[in-house]
């Protein structure tokens, strides 16, 4: 059984390595993600962000603009998840409630 696991692991490793070999080089201008329209015919969001991030928000770091402005709803969910984690830890771990019973 363990040998089977190793064989499966090697197979997945090989698949991933094949995928990595097939990736376009970093910074390649002709790769699909750097076009305005991808091969499926839909516009690529990244080119819009790269061209308009500074114009829209006057913020040089476009990652921040995407994180907090274009995709602000997603970050709001992340913040609320963090807050919910704190609340859950309070209710599960805090010993005040047990002591007062």
């Amino acid at each position: 059984m363990k040998i089977l696991q190793y064989i499966l692991l090697m197979a997945f490793c090989g698949i991933l390595l094949l995928a990595v070999v097939e990736l376009p080089p970093r910074g390649d201008l002709n790769s699909p993600v750097h076009q305005k329209v991808n091969p499926a015919g839909t516009p690529v969001a990244g080119s819009y962000y790269i061209q308009n991030a500074y114009k829209d928000a006057k913020t040089p770091n476009m990652v921040t603009v995407i994180l907090a402005d274009y995709r602000g709803f997603d970050t709001m969910g992340e913040t609320i998840v963090v807050f919910c984690g704190g609340i859950a830890c309070f209710f599960i771990l805090s010993r005040h409630r047990q002591r007062r019973k």
């Binding site: 114009k55 829209d56 928000a57 006057k58 913020t59 040089p60 770091n61 990652v63 921040t64 603009v65 994180l67 907090a68 402005d69 602000g72 709803f73 970050t75 709001m76 992340e78 913040t79 609320i80 963090v82 807050f83 984690g85 704190g86 609340i87 830890c89 309070f90 599960i92 771990l93 805090s94 010993r95 005040h96 047990q98 002591r99 007062r100 019973k101």
Partner: protein, 179 residues
């Protein structure tokens, strides 16, 4: 009868910030033993001085990372984690009771809720001024162009994220110790 029990419940639901340290429960021996070393403070002066000297710089670095998120890698999450780490260093070396001055335990979850509230309210305000949710260009501040309103809107929500992340880390640490 019911009145008495209600009174008891009111008594029992007192706020948690006035609990003296010495009435911790004795029933859970395992937790008690494992938590004892974390609750007490070290007596080593080297650890004390080093942690007290380093922690303000860590918090300052966190503030820098938070405010410089517009221009360099960084932002609310990273800055909040750094500031929380600076506070947790004091919590580790001085003990929870002695490091209450920098961030009291009762304040942690309230500040965390305040951070989430800052984010959500910054997102909801533009709805009442012809905008969509989280469209900071419609924030009602006169005399500022919409681009710069988005700039400051990003700063506001990063402030909320920083508050939430920083205080939640400290709150989880304090909860683990049973405070």
């Amino acid at each position: 009868m019911s009145v008495i029990s209600e009174n008891n419940m009111l008594e029992n639901n007192m706020p948690e910030d006035d609990v003296p340290e010495d009435d911790m429960p004795e029933n859970n021996l395992n937790v008690q033993q494992s938590g004892e070393s974390m609750k007490s403070f070290t007596t080593s002066p080297i650890v004390h001085l080093t942690s007290r000297a380093v922690s303000p710089f860590i918090i300052l670095m966190g503030l820098y990372v938070f405010f410089h998120g517009h221009y360099s890698p960084g932002g609310g999450f990273q800055g909040g984690v750094l500031m929380g780490a600076g506070i947790l260093l004091l919590r580790l070396s001085l003990g929870v009771t002695r490091s209450q001055a920098i961030l009291p335990t009762w304040l942690t979850l309230r500040l965390s809720a305040l951070g989430a509230l800052i984010y959500v309210s910054t997102g909801l305000v533009p709805v009442f001024f012809d905008g969509n949710v989280l469209e900071y260009g419609f924030l009602p501040i006169s005399g500022v162009e919409p681009e710069y309103l988005r700039y400051y809107g990003i700063l506001f929500i990063e402030l909320g994220v920083t508050l939430t992340v920083m205080t939640t880390l400290v709150a989880i640490y304090d909860d683990l110790l049973g405070y």
